[in-house]
C-alpha cells in the first residue's frame, strides 16, 4: 500500500493548535504516513508537536463557527484573512488521553486532514506500522532485542533444574501458537504427553511454569481452560502433568479467574474446569474477574468521567462508581494477593487459568510475582517480568495491570525500583510506539513479521543510562519481604497521574517527584563524599 494515496493534503499553513497546558499557537500542520506534525510559526518558540497517528483514538469534526474565536485569539491578525476562507475544527482524542484541537483554514483541507488521520491512524496491517520505519541514528537493528529468553530464564533458576526441564516441543509454534518456542515443564513429562495435554487445553495452552518461589520451591503454573466439554472428557496426560508439577506435595491450588457458574457454563461450550474426581490433589478456587470487552467499556467510562467538566461532586462519584474501574483494580489485586498467599504462606503450588489464559491469568500471575519476588521489583526485573508474561497490543488488561502496579507503588513507595514515570511511559507505548515491543500478541506473530530484526526494542532503550535515571525510584530500598497490598476501598486510589494526566495539578505533582529525586541525589552526594 502507498501511504501517499491517503494523504490528499499534506501541509496546511495558519493552523491554530490548542493543547492542554499550553497557550494556543499558530503554525504549520503536516501529515505524513505515520505522524501529525505541528510546527509553531514563532521561530524562537521552536515548539513542535510530533504525534504518532497511531496514538489518535478519534477525530471529531465541527465546522466554521469557530472563526470568531480564531480571531479573538489573535486580534492582530490581518483583516483580509477573514474574508477569504472559512475554517474547520478538528478535535483529536488521543489514546494517551490528551485532547488536541486544530483549527484549520479551509473546509476542504480540514476534511482531507481528518480523512487522512482516520485512515492512517488505524492501519490494520502490523507490518506497515511505524516501528518498522523508525530508524534512530544512535541505534542499530543489530542491537540485542529483548532482555531475556525462556532459555536464560531457565538457566538462571538452578534450583529448578532437578524437577523441571526446558521443552522445545513448541519450537515451530505447532503445539501452541501463542506460546514461546521454549517452555518450562515437569521433567517427568515427555514432549508427546505435552502434545496430548495441549490438545486438551484451549488454544493449546497446556500448563507451564511461570514462576518458581525460591523460598519454598513452590511454583505458579498457568494454562488455559481444559476442554472437558459437556460430556466430561478427560486427558490422562494433562492429569499426569499437573500431578508431576506438585510431586512430593499432597495438594495444589487451581485459581480459576471465572466464577463457578461461568466455569460450569463454559462446559456447555466445550470448555470446562478440572473436576475434583479427576484432579484429586487439586483444590479449585473461583474468583470472578472481568475480561476484555467489559474492561474496555469500563475504561471508556472512566476516561469519560475524568474528562467531564461538571463541578457536581455527586455526578463525579456516581460516574466513578459506575465505571467500575476501581472495582476491577480491587479484584485484580485481591486475586493476586490470594495467589501469592497460597504460594508464600500456605506453601502450595498454584495453577492459574481462566478461559483463554491470556488476560486475567497473566494479570494476576504478574502481580503475584511482584508481591512475592524482590527480584521483579527492580527496573530490569520488572521489564523482564513484563517481557516474559505480558506483552500484548493495545490491551485494557495491560492498563489495568499498570494501575495495579501503581497501587502497589503508592502503598509501598520504597519497595519498587521504578518510578511512576515508567508506568506512564509504558501506558503510552502500549498503545502507540516507535518501538516494536508491543506489536503483535504472540511470539509466533512477531517471528513471522521479523519484529526482532526490523524494529527496535523499547525495554532496551528504557535501560539506557539517561532513561534509566528518569525511570528509577530514588527512594528504592531493596526489601526481601513480600509486599501485601491492602485492598480496602479506602486504600485504593484513582490513578490521577494517568487518568488526569494533562492537568496543571498533575504537572505540579510531577515536579514534586522531581524535588524528591533531587533531595535524594543531594543526600547521596554528601553521603559518598
Amino acid at each position: 500500500m502507498e501511504f501517499s494515496e491517503h494523504i490528499k493534503t499534506a501541509n496546511v499553513e495558519d493552523v491554530v493548535l490548542q493543547q492542554p497546558l499550553h497557550p494556543p499557537s499558530k503554525g504549520t500542520l503536516c501529515i505524513t504516513s505515520h505522524h501529525l506534525l505541528f510546527s509553531d510559526r514563532e521561530e524562537d518558540s521552536g515548539r513542535q508537536v510530533l504525534l504518532l497517528l497511531r496514538n489518535i483514538d478519534a477525530v471529531e469534526k465541527s465546522s466554521v463557527e469557530n472563526l470568531v474565536n480564531y480571531f479573538g485569539l489573535f486580534p492582530n491578525a490581518g483583516r483580509s484573512d477573514r474574508a477569504t476562507e472559512s475554517s474547520g475544527t478538528l478535535v483529536i482524542k488521543c489514546k494517551d488521553l490528551r485532547v488536541l484541537q486544530l483549527e484549520i483554514p479551509g473546509m476542504e483541507q480540514c476534511l482531507n486532514i481528518a480523512q487522512s488521520i482516520e485512515t492512517l491512524s488505524c492501519l490494520a496491517c502490523v507490518a506497515e506500522m511505524y516501528p518498522f520505519f523508525y530508524r534512530p541514528s544512535n541505534a542499530s537493528l543489530r542491537d540485542q532485542w529483548g532482555l531475556s529468553t525462556p532459555e536464560r530464564h531457565y538457566t538462571e533458576m538452578e534450583a529448578l533444574h532437578e524437577r523441571w526441564r526446558l521443552s522445545t516441543v513448541n519450537q515451530d509454534y505447532s503445539v501452541c501458537p501463542s506460546y514461546p518456542p521454549a517452555v518450562i515443564v515437569p521433567k517427568a513429562i515427555g514432549d508427546d504427553a505435552l502434545k496430548m495435554a495441549a490438545k486438551f487445553r484451549q488454544g493449546g495452552r497446556f500448563p507451564v511454569l511461570c514462576y518458581y518461589h525460591r523460598k519454598n520451591g513452590m511454583v505458579i503454573l498457568r494454562s488455559s481452560q481444559p476442554l472437558t466439554g459437556a460430556n466430561r472428557k478427560r486427558c490422562i496426560q494433562d492429569e499426569l502433568l499437573l500431578q508431576a508439577a506438585i510431586e512430593g506435595s499432597d495438594k495444589g491450588y487451581i485459581i480459576d479467574t471465572r466464577s463457578a457458574q461461568q466455569a460450569q457454563q463454559a462446559r456447555m461450550m466445550g470448555g470446562g474446569f478440572e473436576s475434583k474426581s479427576c484432579y484429586s490433589s487439586w483444590k479449585r478456587l473461583h474468583r470472578h474477574m472481568e475480561r476484555g470487552k467489559t474492561l474496555q467499556e469500563s475504561l471508556i467510562k472512566l476516561v469519560e468521567a475524568c474528562g467531564d467538566k461538571s463541578p457536581n461532586m455527586d455526578r463525579w462519584l456516581s460516574k466513578l462508581e459506575n465505571s467500575k474501574w476501581l472495582s476491577h483494580v480491587q479484584t485484580a489485586l485481591s486475586t493476586a494477593g490470594l495467589l501469592a498467599e497460597c504460594v508464600e504462606r500456605d506453601g502450595r503450588s498454584v495453577l492459574v487459568h481462566g478461559s483463554e489464559g491470556t488476560g486475567s491469568t497473566l494479570l494476576i500471575s504478574t502481580l503475584a510475582q511482584l508481591i512475592m519476588d524482590p527480584s521483579c521489583r527492580t527496573l530490569e526485573g520488572f521489564l523482564t517480568l513484563l517481557e516474559r508474561e505480558f506483552v500484548q497490543q493495545e490491551c485494557p488488561v495491560f492498563l489495568l495491570l499498570l494501575d495495579c502496579v501503581w497501587q502497589l507503588w503508592y502503598q509501598f513507595p520504597l519497595a519498587l525500583g521504578f518510578s511512576e514515570a515508567l508506568l506512564l511511559r509504558l501506558a503510552t507505548e502500549a498503545y502507540s510506539s516507535d518501538y516494536g515491543t508491543f506489536l503483535c500478541n504472540s511470539d509466533m506473530e512477531r517471528c513471522a513479521l521479523q519484529v526482532k530484526g526490523k524494529t527496535h526494542c523499547l525495554f532496551r532503550v528504557l535501560l539506557k543510562p539517561r532513561e534509566r535515571e528518569q525511570y528509577t525510584n530514588p527512594l528504592y530500598e531493596p526489601n526481601e519481604l513480600a509486599i501485601w497490598p491492602s485492598v480496602h476501598p479506602q486504600s485504593l486510589q484513582l490513578w490521577r497521574g494517568f487518568f488526569l494526566r494533562w492537568t496543571q495539578q498533575t504537572l505540579h505533582l510531577e515536579l514534586v517527584q522531581e524535588d524528591i529525586r533531587n533531595m535524594v541525589i543531594e543526600w547521596g552526594k554528601l553521603a559518598l563524599s
Binding site: H286, S334, L414, F499, I516
Partner: protein
C-alpha cells in the same frame, strides 16, 4: 471517682474492627480520666488507653453466649468493640462510662486535672506563645485605614455610635470586623453575622460601617458581601426578621450567595460518611455509593469553593469582602480561614496555622464546646465544622505537597486535641467564657506543646522559597481532585494506609543531609587547619549505608510483611492516638509513656496475626466448601 461503679473487669475481649473473629483478651480498667485495656495474653504487655473525653457514644448490644458487647465510638474516629463476660459487669461499665464521658460542668474536664510536670512560670508562659495583637501588626495593622478597637473590651459593645448601631442591627451583636488585611493591595476580609434586615428594615450605621470598609480600600470602587448560606435558608431567615443585605440600601456592594449547608446537614452528612467507613468489608461500589450519598465531599468542596471565591476577590481583583452566615461563627469561620490559607503563605507555616485557628476560630467565638460536645448538652449543637476546615487544608496539601510547612500529622493532632479537652485552648464557646473559666490560669496551652514538638509536624518537602509555597494557591476544584481522608476517618485501621512513608524517609534524609553538611564543613575547616600545619595525610571517611540510618531505626519494615484482607486480617493496634500528646512532656502517673512504647513494640501482635493466618487456609472457608459441593453435585450426575 464516685462515678466508677467497677474499676476493673477481667477476661474482656477487644475485637478487631475489621475481622471480628479475631480478638485480644485482657483486663479493662476504668480510671477517672481513661479507660485502659491491658492485653494479658502472651509475654508482651499491650495497652490501649482511651480518654473519657474522647468518647463520642456508647452502645451496649444484646448479650450473646460469649458475653455482652460494648461498642465505643470515639471523637477521634476510633471504634472499640469490647465483649465483657458478664452482662452485669457490662452494664456497670456502660453506666460508669456514660457518666464519665459526659461531664456536666466545665470543672470536670480533663484540662483541669491534666498536670504534666511543668513549672508554674513555664505554664504561664505557654499562654504567651501566641499573641493576636502581634498577628495584626504582622498584617500591617493598625495603620491609617484600620484601628484596633477595644469597644468589645467588656464583651458587650458600648461606645462609638456606628459600631453600636451596626452591632444592634446584626444577629447577636456580631458587627463587621476585620479578619484579614492584604498589605499589598489594601483589600480586606471582614466578617460578621447576618443583618436583622427582615423584609425591609434598614440601619444607617450598618450601611455606614460597610461604606467605611469599602473606603478603607482606596483602589476599589465596590466590595463583595458574601452570604455563605444557600439562598433559600437566607430567605427563610428574612421571615424571622433576619436575612441579608439589600443591594439597593448599601452603596457599591455586590451581593453573593455561596450555598454552604448548615450545621445540622453537616452533622448528619459526617455521620453517614462514618458509617461507610465502618462497613466491615465493603465492595468498592458500596464504598463509593456510600460516600456519594453521605454528601460529605460535596460539602467540603462547597467550603473550599467559597474560600477560593474570596481569596481571588482579594488577591486578583483587589476587592474587599464581607463574609457572613447566620451567626458568623461556623461557615464564616470556615470560609475566612480557608481564604486566609489560600492567600497567605504565613498561614501555611506551623506557627501561622496556629495563629490562624486562634484568630478566626478561637477569638471570633466558634462554639467549640457546643460543636465538639465537650459537656453533656444539646446534641443538635454538635457539628463537625472545624473538621471540615481541617479537611479543606488537607485537600490543599494533597494538591500542593510543597506549600505547607506542616504535615498531615499536625492536622490530625490538632483535631484530636480540639476534642480531647486536654488543653485549655478550645474549652468554652467564646473568649469571654474562657476568661471566666480562668483557663489561662489553670490549664495548659496546646500551641506551645505543638511548637516544642514541631520536628514531628514538619513537612520535609516544604520549600518556603519555592513557587508553590508563595502567593495565592490556585487549587483545582474539579470533583475528581477531592480525595477521601482515610488517615483521619479510618485513622486506627492501620492496615488500610500506605505501608511505607515517603515523608519519614525524606525527613531522615533531610536531617542526615544537614548533619553531613555540618560534618563536611567541619572537615573542611580541619583540612585547612591541617594544611596550614603541613600535616601529612588526611583521611576522614565517614561510611554511610545506602539507607538513612535514622529512618531504618525508626521504622518497622516488618509492617511490609503483613498479610492483607483478600484473605485475612491485619491486627490494628489502637494505641497510637495517645502517643503524640504525651511523648514530649514529662509525664505524670496518669500519663501514657507506656502506651507510646507499646504502640511501637507490638511486633508480637503482628507475629500472632501471621501465625493465626498460616493455620487457616488462605481463603474463606465458604468458597472452598462451595466449590467442593458444587463439584460433587456434578460428578454424581
Amino acid at each position: 471517682m464516685e462515678h466508677i461503679r467497677l474499676p476493673k473487669v477481667e477476661k474482656v475481649r477487644l475485637l478487631d474492627r475489621v475481622f471480628t473473629k479475631r480478638s485480644r483478651v485482657g483486663t479493662l480498667y476504668l480510671t477517672a480520666t481513661h479507660s485502659i485495656f491491658v492485653e494479658s495474653e502472651g509475654g508482651m504487655r499491650n495497652e490501649t488507653w482511651v480518654l473519657h473525653s474522647l468518647v463520642f457514644s456508647l452502645e451496649k448490644q444484646e448479650a450473646t453466649p460469649s458475653g455482652c458487647p460494648l461498642l465505643i465510638h470515639c471523637k477521634n474516629f476510633q471504634v472499640l468493640h469490647f465483649v465483657i463476660p458478664q452482662e452485669r459487669e457490662c452494664h456497670d461499665v456502660y453506666v460508669s462510662l456514660q457518666r464519665l464521658s459526659r461531664p456536666e460542668r466545665y470543672e470536670e474536664l480533663y484540662c483541669f486535672s491534666y498536670k504534666p510536670n511543668v513549672e508554674e512560670t513555664e505554664r504561664r508562659q505557654e499562654w504567651d506563645f501566641l499573641d493576636l495583637r502581634a498577628e495584626y501588626s504582622r498584617m500591617g495593622i493598625p495603620n491609617s485605614l484600620w484601628k484596633l478597637s477595644s469597644v468589645n473590651r467588656h464583651y458587650k459593645s458600648t461606645t462609638p455610635s456606628v459600631i453600636t448601631g451596626s452591632s444592634k442591627f446584626r444577629s447577636r451583636g456580631r458587627f463587621p470586623t476585620l479578619s484579614y488585611y492584604s498589605k499589598e493591595n489594601h483589600a480586606a476580609i471582614c466578617r460578621s453575622s447576618q443583618p436583622l434586615s427582615g423584609f425591609s428594615a434598614r440601619c444607617l450605621e450598618d450601611e455606614q460601617m460597610l461604606e467605611a470598609i469599602l473606603r478603607s480600600n482606596p483602589r476599589s470602587d465596590f466590595m463583595y458581601v458574601v452570604d455563605t448560606r444557600p439562598k433559600l435558608n437566607a430567605m427563610a431567615n428574612r421571615a424571622a426578621g433576619k436575612g441579608y443585605e439589600n443591594e439597593d440600601n448599601y452603596s457599591h456592594i455586590k451581593f453573593q450567595f455561596v450555598a454552604i449547608e448548615n450545621i445540622h446537614v453537616m452533622r448528619s452528612s459526617q455521620q453517614k460518611m462514618l458509617e461507610v467507613c465502618e462497613l466491615r468489608s465493603p465492595s468498592m461500589s458500596d464504598f463509593l455509593e456510600g460516600l456519594e450519598s453521605s454528601g460529605w465531599l460535596k460539602h467540603i468542596k462547597a467550603v473550599l469553593d467559597a474560600g477560593i471565591f474570596i481569596a481571588k476577590a482579594v488577591a486578583e481583583e483587589g476587592v474587599s469582602v464581607l463574609v457572613h452566615c447566620s451567626d458568623g461563627w461556623d461557615r464564616t469561620a470556615q470560609v475566612c480561614s480557608v481564604a486566609c490559607v489560600l492567600l497567605e503563605p504565613y498561614y501555611r507555616t506551623i506557627k501561622g496555622f496556629m495563629v490562624l485557628i486562634e484568630k478566626d476560630w478561637v477569638s471570633f467565638g466558634h462554639k467549640f464546646s457546643h460543636r465538639c460536645n465537650h459537656l453533656v448538652g444539646d446534641p443538635k449543637e454538635v457539628s463537625p465544622i472545624i473538621d471540615q476546615f481541617l479537611e479543606c487544608v488537607w485537600q490543599l496539601m494533597e494538591q500542593f505537597p510543597c506549600a505547607f510547612e506542616f504535615n498531615e500529622r499536625f492536622l490530625i493532632t490538632i483535631h484530636s486535641h480540639i476534642n480531647s479537652c486536654q488543653y485549655g485552648n478550645f474549652i468554652g464557646n467564646n473568649q469571654r467564657g474562657r476568661i471566666e473559666l480562668g483557663l489561662r490560669e489553670r490549664t495548659h496551652s496546646l500551641w506551645r506543646y505543638l511548637w516544642s514538638n514541631r520536628a514531628d509536624y514538619t513537612n520535609p518537602l516544604y520549600r518556603a522559597d519555592q513557587g508553590q509555597a508563595q502567593g495565592l494557591l490556585r487549587p483545582s476544584t474539579a470533583p475528581c481532585w477531592f480525595k477521601f481522608w482515610a488517615r483521619l476517618y479510618n485513622r486506627f485501621d492501620r492496615g488500610m494506609h500506605p505501608r511505607q512513608s515517603v515523608e519519614d524517609y525524606l525527613r531522615a534524609i533531610k536531617e542526615e543531609t544537614e548533619q553531613l553538611e555540618e560534618l563536611l564543613a567541619s572537615h573542611k575547616q580541619k583540612i585547612s587547619k591541617l594544611e596550614e600545619k603541613q600535616a601529612r595525610n588526611y583521611t576522614a571517611k565517614a561510611t554511610f549505608d545506602k539507607s538513612p540510618t535514622a529512618w531504618v531505626i525508626g521504622h518497622d519494615l516488618g509492617l511490609a510483611n503483613t498479610p492483607q484482607d483478600y484473605t485475612s486480617g491485619f491486627l490494628t493496634s489502637s494505641t497510637c492516638q495517645l502517643k503524640t500528646p504525651c511523648s514530649g512532656l514529662t509525664l505524670s502517673p496518669q500519663d501514657l509513656s507506656k502506651t507510646y512504647d507499646s504502640s511501637h513494640s507490638n511486633g508480637s501482635d503482628r507475629e500472632s496475626g501471621i501465625a493465626d493466618l498460616s493455620c487457616r487456609s488462605p481463603f474463606s472457608e465458604e468458597s472452598t466448601r462451595d466449590q467442593d459441593s458444587d463439584d460433587d453435585d456434578y460428578s454424581a450426575a
